[in-house]
């Protein structure tokens, strides 16, 4: 049992739950076991996955972003308007957004502010800007993103290809690369990273900027699927993204995150919605079931952690 390290075990639980869920969906609805079926099932997975990765990057440095939903909505509005009509201006706006995220990270660190409250305030700001830009639903998606999101690669649907790609890239970035180690180190033991001569402020700014980048990608991908945007299009992403990270084995503090897990978590949440509707569970209970899933996963996590603590004491 040497290969079953605590880390792998943490990843095994979300992977197994995804597999079980997928099996159940296929069992209930055999027709979904096809290219078209899977495409339909996982259609919305890409933006959710990207948003989950963004949230994960914030949680990696022991913070939480409550403005994720409004920010992705805002980006969606920018994509459906400026990025379409005036690409350079659009790109500039999105670049400023990423810089704003980095700035947010710096301010939160320097002033030692609770990230929850700061991002809460920011959620009003993004929401307000989005409403100003698109008071009523509308806009159109730029052709290239529309093409990208609806393209049909051979054998495997776009959503799966994209998810694997996102998982691979972020895994390399956060887990494998030399600077990802420092970012996770900040979440794990800020003082020792500092003592070794690293700048914690720079690391935090970088983590937030990366989160901003992935959230921007989420907004763009979302518009590619929906073709138009509105100011409330992605409000539920705040909660979904947090739940996705947790489902995927991430922790709130201590820099223990897993990009592969986060992608699996996001896929699981996307599938769960379809699964519940196939089960003919009334749509009334769908949100509730998400809450219940979250609680069950956290309870399982507690058991796992206890086991780990026992191992550590030996």
């Amino acid at each position: 049992m040497n290969w079953l390290t605590a880390d792998r075990l943490r990843l095994l639980v979300p992977a197994l739950s995804l597999a079980v869920l997928l099996g159940a969906v296929f069992y209930l609805q055999p027709r979904s076991m096809s290219y078209v079926g899977l495409n339909l099932l996982l259609n919305l997975a890409v933006p959710i996955t990207l948003a989950t990765i963004a949230q994960m990057l914030i949680m990696m440095v022991n913070d939480l972003d409550l403005s994720m939903g409004t920010f992705v909505s805002f980006v969606a509005c920018v994509t459906a308007t400026y990025l379409q009509t005036d690409p350079w201006l659009g790109v500039l706006i999105l670049a400023v957004c990423i810089a704003a995220y980095a700035g947010m990270g710096v301010v939160i660190h320097l002033r030692n502010l609770p990230s929850i409250v700061v991002t809460l305030g920011m959620s009003f700001v993004w929401g307000g800007l989005a409403v100003l830009m698109l008071p009523t639903p509308g806009g159109t998606a730029p052709d290239w993103i529309r093409w990208l999101m609806t393209s049909k690669p051979p054998i495997v649907p776009m959503a799966i290809v994209a998810s694997v790609l996102i998982a691979a890239i972020t895994h390399w970035l956060v887990i494998r690369s030399a600077f990802g180690v420092v970012l996770r180190g900040v979440g794990g033991n800020e003082r020792s990273v500092q003592r070794a001569g690293w700048s914690v402020i720079r690391a935090k700014a970088l983590a937030y900027a990366l989160a901003g980048l992935f959230a921007v990608l989420a907004g763009i991908a979302l518009v590619g699927l929906t073709t138009s945007a509105d100011a409330n299009i992605a409000l539920r992403y705040t909660l979904l993204s947090i739940a996705g990270v947790i489902l995927g084995g991430g922790e709130f503090v201590g820099g223990r995150v897993s990009p592969i897990g986060a992608v699996i978590g996001a896929l699981t949440l996307t599938l769960a919605a379809s699964f519940l509707s196939f089960l003919r569970i009334s749509p009334d209970w769908q949100i509730g079931a998400q809450g219940a899933i979250l609680i069950v996963v956290l309870a399982l996590r507690l058991l796992l952690n206890r086991r780990e603590a026992r191992e550590g004491r030996q």
Binding site: L113, G121, F124, G127, L132, I295, L298
Partner: protein, 311 residues
Amino acid sequence: MRTLAAKPWFWSFVAAFGVWLATILFTGGASTIGVSQAALTFAAFSIIVGLGQMFVITLGPGNVDLSIPSTMTLAGTVALKVMETNDGLVLLGLILAVLVGLCIGVVNYGLIKLLRIPPIIATLSSSFIIQSTAIWYNRGIRIKPPATLIQFATGTTLGIPNVALVALLISVVIWVLLEKGIYGRRVSAIGQNMRAARLAGVPVDGTRFATYVLCAVLASLAGLLLSCFSGGAALNMGTEYLLSSIAVVVIGGTAVAGGSANVPGIWGGSLFLFLVVSMLNTYGASAGVRLLLTGIIIIGVILAASRRPLA
């Protein structure tokens, strides 16, 4: 004057008054009574939920109740459905609403304690389930409140909206709890230093538990009042209170890092938030500008408060 200005809630009242003045001057004083009554009415709901959130936030970093909106919805739904527009069942409805709050508070703290998860996630997960319960229970039917309750919730006494009077009554009780009661002392001690509080004999679990229950009960009462005021429980009626309950606490000068709370600030913050909205409405500003300004105000207040060195 100097001691007054040193109070953490002082500036929220100054700001609220300034905005109030700007609004009625714009309309040449014609709307004085209307604006004031509307402000008191709408502020009342966020005052009631804000008071609960204030205690929760005072418990220290990481403590926040995100289940307030769904609690409001569920309590309103359950109470209205049981009362079935029957005036005779008003008391039962009220008791049920409080019971709903009690149960939710127990569940919330149970999750926090048993699963050892941050309150933000515990209350978030439970809010999903509460929301679903409300949807399921409601079944899309909009039941009207009993006539007496509608009358009460929309009426005024001596020119003051009844809901504002209810909020005042609750505020007085909460103020006594906070400033004179052992409970308020304990909440403040936990918020400053949980470990020190425990070693000084403060029953930390009991106090935190009571706080989450109190917050949920206040949200339930606000939900009942709001559904009576607006002629029925709507599923999304609590949504805006998620953010505004936290916003009024922060604007009112309660320490975001915990340990220090004040009741008047909740009034100042709530009135200010509503008056900003109504002022911008009067000036013809769009919803976007209102949101944007609210966000800038919240962040500005946090930054300003953080500049004060913690004594």
